[in-house]
Point group: C2
Chain length 226, copies 2
């Protein structure tokens, strides 16, 4: 397992691919996971095309999850639990799983401007209930526009609220610095994902009302200089 | 009833007083409401002290609610329903009630970094369930720092997500322009208050973690120029 590497399960989707582009551009090895190996390999090719120096590989989710100390879950909410169940036997203590999930009501055929309730409180807490002991779960990156991530020429003007146990949270906050414009914000305990995940639905509505398909971001004002 | 006036029920509290200062400073007549007449009068005196040109009056909530076309509810969540029940007979069609409420868990003796669930979905929707027909409810101003509102020398660097039926929503968005630094954001239907109200608890946690008692604000990035 490569401590420097980042696995992105669902890395074939818009947001996962965007992160893969940004992280490889920043010099980090990336493993893209997908349910289907061919789709993962195809996404890895796309990354290499855009970032010639990219150290990137496409693998089935189960294999991808074993390759990196930090594993991003970037699949649609309706596939979250199933994806996690398919890889959890492979996870080992010390790994950090980053939940990017948002319980959009599209999961039940309703609109993306609304959400569904999750028994555990949030998508991130659902993940926390499913990982083996010693695996830390961190909530982050829900509100970052996929479009802006993929546009390597531009900055992603957005704060990323990072929630979870402290050492793992710090590790993920540092990953935010790899993407120009992103800023990791100390979001406290994992349960705050309940709030952060909802904000994505609000942003999706704002994108539509203001006609910004590229996606809005958020910033916190009044923070002390870091 | 003065179409230009703004009533602020609970205007003796930190945030209500801050709005009273800002709105009178901007030249709008303000009526401060409180359960106790003397406390309302005292708050009006404070406003006149800070803003000598202020057109401001202190009244009991029931009277204050009849004086303005726009009525802010700025009481702690645990007093929301009771306050509304005490004034609803006085409300008439065409008035706009602005819900600033946040269901902080302090209402049940827990911490302000967490919230309690509301059957109707949000504090604003609870209000909507209690007002007479023809009275519009708008959700706004939950995330604006009381401290920064009261500091008349400074700008309040914060976006205000305004949710509710369209004409009333527009009216409240325009009120945001009265406060230097505030920007009204079209937050869509009232039910989005479910998300916006939660964000206050997140901000309260961030204020503590980052040591910013003056209070952080939020900004949306990527909005088209207005």
């Amino acid at each position: 397992m490569d401590g420097n590497a980042i696995a992105i399960l669902g890395g074939t989707g818009d947001q996962g691919l965007g992160l893969a582009l940004r992280f490889t551009r920043a010099g980090r090895p990336v493993v893209i996971g997908s349910r289907k190996l061919e789709r993962a390999e195809e996404a890895a090719r796309k990354v290499r095309q855009a970032v010639p120096e990219a150290e990137v590989e496409g693998l089935a989710n189960e294999q991808a999850a074993t390759r990196a100390s930090t594993v991003f879950l970037s699949v649609p909410f309706e596939h979250f639990a199933a994806t996690l169940k398919s890889i959890r036997e492979k996870l080992v203590a010390g790994q950090v799983v980053v939940s990017m999930g948002v319980p959009l009501a599209t999961a039940v055929g309703d609109a993306a401007v609304r959400t569904v309730g999750i028994w555990q409180g949030s998508c991130a807490e659902l993940v926390a209930a499913l990982v083996p002991p010693g695996v830390e779960v961190v909530s982050a990156f829900q509100n970052v526009s996929a479009h802006r991530l993929q546009d390597l020429a531009g900055e992603v003007e957005c704060d990323v609220v990072v929630s979870g146990a402290k050492p793992a949270r710090r590790r993920v906050m540092q990953l935010c610095d790899l993407v120009p414009g992103l800023r990791g914000i100390d979001g406290g305990p994992l349960a705050n994902a309940r709030i952060v995940e909802q904000m994505t639905a609000l942003l999706i509505g704002l994108n539509a009302r203001y006609g910004v398909p590229e996606g809005l971001g958020i910033r916190f004002t009044g923070l002390p200089p870091s």
